[in-house]
Symmetry: C2
C-alpha cells in the first residue's frame, strides 16, 4: 500500500514538532509532502528549514483541493481545528487534529457529525498522553475494578509553567479571540482528557478561575475545579501556568484501593476487602482494613506519544487499526473545560452535558471584547512541551 | 516548686490517653490526682484501671471547688471545652483544653476573654501536632521567606479513617447536639490549626460538604474546601473519614519555592530567583527558572506531641515558659472550620472573620433537629489516634 501523503497545516511550534517526527522515519507508511500556513513568514522559514522539495500553501483550501494529498495534520490555533477538520473531510482527506479538538463543544459536535458521514476517512485526535504507560495502567486498574468503586479523584497539574515571554510570542496567544481560553485550552487538554478517560465523566462542576493572574493576558492562568460524579464520587482539578517548580500528581481513590501517579511513577495500594463491606461488618471501634502496597511494572519503550498516535492514525488509514483517540472522544475533555469556564463565569454549578448555546453566548461576549496583543511572532523551541 | 496537682475531666478515649501520659513520669512537675466524669460507669472503670488512690468526681463543679486541685485537663465532648475552661478559670484553676477549642467561635471568644481576666492562670490548648518537627520546619521556611510570597496551599487529609463501629461507640458521637460537627470538629482541628499556623488565615472560603455520606451519622464525613488568602494565594483542603488507605499530603507553594509534607517527610524545592522577578525579565519563550531540591534535616526525638504540650503547660505554670498553643490561638482553626460549615449550609462564599451569630443560628437549627444515637457507650483503644 502506498504511503499516506500528508501536509502539515499550521507551521508553528507544534507543526514543526510534527515535521520533525515525520522526518525521523520512525513512523511507517506516512510521507510529509507539504506545509500550509497563512503567515508567509512561517512558510518561508519552513522552506529554509526543510528545503524547497515540498508543496507550500498559504490557504488550507488549496491543500484540500490538491489531489496529491491524502491527509492533513492540523496544528493551527485552536478555533480552526474543527473548522479545518470538517473542510478536510468534505474534501476527502484524512485528518489528524492537534489538541484541543476545538474551543467549544458545539463546533466539535459538528466535526464529529461530519466524520460520521465519511466512514472511509480517518479523523483522529492528538491525545498523545493516552500512550503514556502510567495512565494506561491506571485506566486498566480502574476499568477492571481493581480499586473497587470510584470515590475521589484529585489532579494537581501545575507544571505547565509559561512565562510572560511565552505569552508574548504570538499576538493570538492567550486571547479570547485567538485561543478561546488559557491553561484549560492550551496546556490542560491532555489532563482533562485523561481525567475522564480513566475516571469517567463528572455530573456537575463548580470552579474558581482567575483571568490574567500574574500574567498580562485575557484568559485564565489559574483554576481550581470541583467535580461531582454520578455515583457520588468527588474530584478536584488544580492547574496554573505561573508556578515553578510545578506539581503533576494525579490521585484516584476507590472503595478498594488508591492509585497515585507522580513524576511518571505509579503507586497502587489495595485493601484486602472492599471498604463498604468491611465497614458493614467491622465491630472494633478504631481500626482499618488491611492494606497492601502493590508494585506494578510500568514499561516505557522510549517512543513519544506523538509518534505513536501518528503511527496509529496511519495504521487506521492503511490497515483499519482501532484508533487510540478517535474524533468522537474530543468532546469529553472539552466539555469539562467548557463547564469549568462557564461555572467560573456564572459563579454557579454547571451540569454536564453543558448548555452549549449558553457557553457559546458567554464565550462570544469575551471574544467581542478581545484584543490581539501587539507582539513579534516567534516560533519557539518546543522541547519540553507536549 | 511543688507539682501541679491535676484532675482529668472526661475519662473517655483521650482522657485515658492523658492519664497514661501523666503516669508515664516523662512529664516533670505534674501529678495526676483525680478523675471526673458525669458517667459513673466510666468513673468506675477508671477506679478499676488506675486504683482507688485518686479523687473521683461526678461533677466538674466539685473539682473546681476542691482546693487540693491546681489544674484540670479538659477531655470532654467538644461543646463543654470552653464552658468548663471558663468555669475552671473562674475557680482559679489552670486548664489544658483538648482540641477543638470549642464548637463555635462565639463561645471560644468568651473563653479567651475570660483568660485575659486571669493573667496568673494558664490556659493552653492541645495542639500537639504543632510539636511535629516537619510542621515546625515548614512554618520556619514560610515565615523566614524561604518560599517567597505564598501562592497556593493544598492539604489532602483523608487518613482519618473511622468505621461505623467507631461512630456507634458513643451516642453523642457525630451528632449535632453531641459533637457539633464531624470530621472538621473531631479529626481535623490539628490540620486546620496547622494550615493557618503555617500559611496564615484565608480571607474567604467556599466549601462542599457531605453529611452522613457512607456513614449513618448526622454530621459531615467528607469535605472539600476552597480558600482565598488576602494576598491572592489560593488553597484547597480535602478531608474524609471514609477512605482507606488515606492520604496526608500538605503542599505549600510560594513565589520562590515549594514544600511538600507527606508521610512525615518534608521535601523542599527553591528557585534560584523569585518567579515574579524571573518572569519580569526572561525573554526566551519556553523556559523556567532553575530549581534546586534542598534536603533539610528534620529531627524526631521520639516524645509525642501530647507529652510535649503537657510539659509546656506545666512549665508555663511553674516557670513562665512561653506557651506553644495559647488559648487565643484556638479561634483560628475553629473559624476556618465554622466557615467551611457555613459555606456548605448557605452554598455561598463565607468571608472571615465569620458572622458568628449567623453561624450559631444555623448550628442551633441542626442541634434542635439532632438525635442521640442509641448505642452502648464504649471506651476505645486510642492507639493510632491523635
Amino acid at each position: 500500500m502506498r504511503n499516506v501523503k500528508t501536509v502539515i497545516i499550521g507551521v508553528g511550534n507544534i507543526g514543526n514538532l510534527h515535521a520533525s517526527n515525520l522526518l525521523s522515519e520512525e513512523i511507517k507508511g506516512i510521507e510529509l509532502v507539504g506545509f500550509c500556513d497563512t503567515n508567509p513568514l512561517k512558510l518561508e522559514a519552513a522552506k529554509k528549514k526543510y528545503g524547497a522539495d515540498y508543496h507550500f500553501y498559504t490557504q488550507a483550501e488549496d491543500v484540500f483541493a490538491d489531489e496529491r494529498v491524502d491527509a492533513v495534520i492540523i496544528a493551527t490555533p485552536h478555533y480552526d481545528h474543527p473548522v479545518l477538520a470538517i473542510a478536510a473531510l468534505k474534501a476527502g482527506k484524512h485528518a489528524l487534529v492537534e489538541k484541543p479538538a476545538g474551543v467549544y463543544t458545539k463546533k466539535v459536535r459538528e466535526m464529529i457529525e461530519e466524520a460520521k458521514r465519511h466512514p472511509n476517512l480517518t479523523l483522529s485526535l492528538m491525545y498523545n498522553q493516552r500512550m503514556n504507560p502510567t495512565y494506561q495502567k491506571a485506566k486498566e486498574l480502574v476499568e477492571t475494578g481493581k480499586i473497587g468503586e470510584l470515590r475521589r479523584t484529585n489532579w494537581i497539574i501545575t507544571n505547565w509553567y509559561r512565562s510572560q515571554s511565552y505569552y508574548n510570542s504570538g499576538g493570538w496567544r492567550a486571547t479570547w479571540a485567538g485561543e478561546g481560553g488559557g491553561v484549560l485550552l492550551n496546556q490542560d487538554p491532555h489532563q482533562l482528557d485523561l481525567w475522564q478517560w480513566i475516571c469517567g465523566m463528572p455530573e456537575r462542576i463548580y470552579s474558581f478561575a482567575y483571568y490574567g493572574k500574574r500574567r498580562n493576558v485575557e484568559v485564565e492562568t489559574e483554576v481550581t475545579a470541583y467535580a461531582e460524579y454520578p455515583n457520588g464520587a468527588t474530584g478536584v482539578f488544580v492547574t496554573t501556568t505561573t508556578e515553578t517548580p510545578g506539581t503533576n500528581r494525579f490521585e484516584i481513590v476507590g472503595s478498594q484501593g488508591k492509585i497515585v501517579i507522580e513524576e511518571d511513577q505509579l503507586k497502587f495500594w489495595r485493601t484486602v476487602m472492599d471498604e463498604t463491606e468491611w465497614n458493614d461488618t467491622y465491630q472494633g471501634g478504631f481500626g482499618e482494613p488491611e492494606v497492601w502496597e502493590i508494585k506494578i511494572p510500568v514499561v516505557f519503550d522510549g517512543q513519544t506519544g506523538h509518534k505513536k498516535v501518528t503511527q496509529n492514525f496511519v495504521n487506521h488509514i492503511l490497515y483499519g487499526e482501532a484508533l487510540i483517540s478517535p474524533a468522537e472522544d474530543g468532546i469529553y475533555g472539552l466539555s469539562i473545560s467548557n463547564a469549568i469556564h462557564l461555572s467560573s463565569w456564572t459563579e454557579s454549578w454547571v451540569t454536564l452535558p453543558i448548555d452549549e448555546d449558553k457557553f457559546l453566548e458567554e464565550l462570544t461576549k469575551r471574544v467581542e471584547g478581545s484584543k490581539e496583543k501587539t507582539v513579534e511572532e516567534q516560533v519557539l523551541d518546543t522541547d519540553g512541551t507536549y
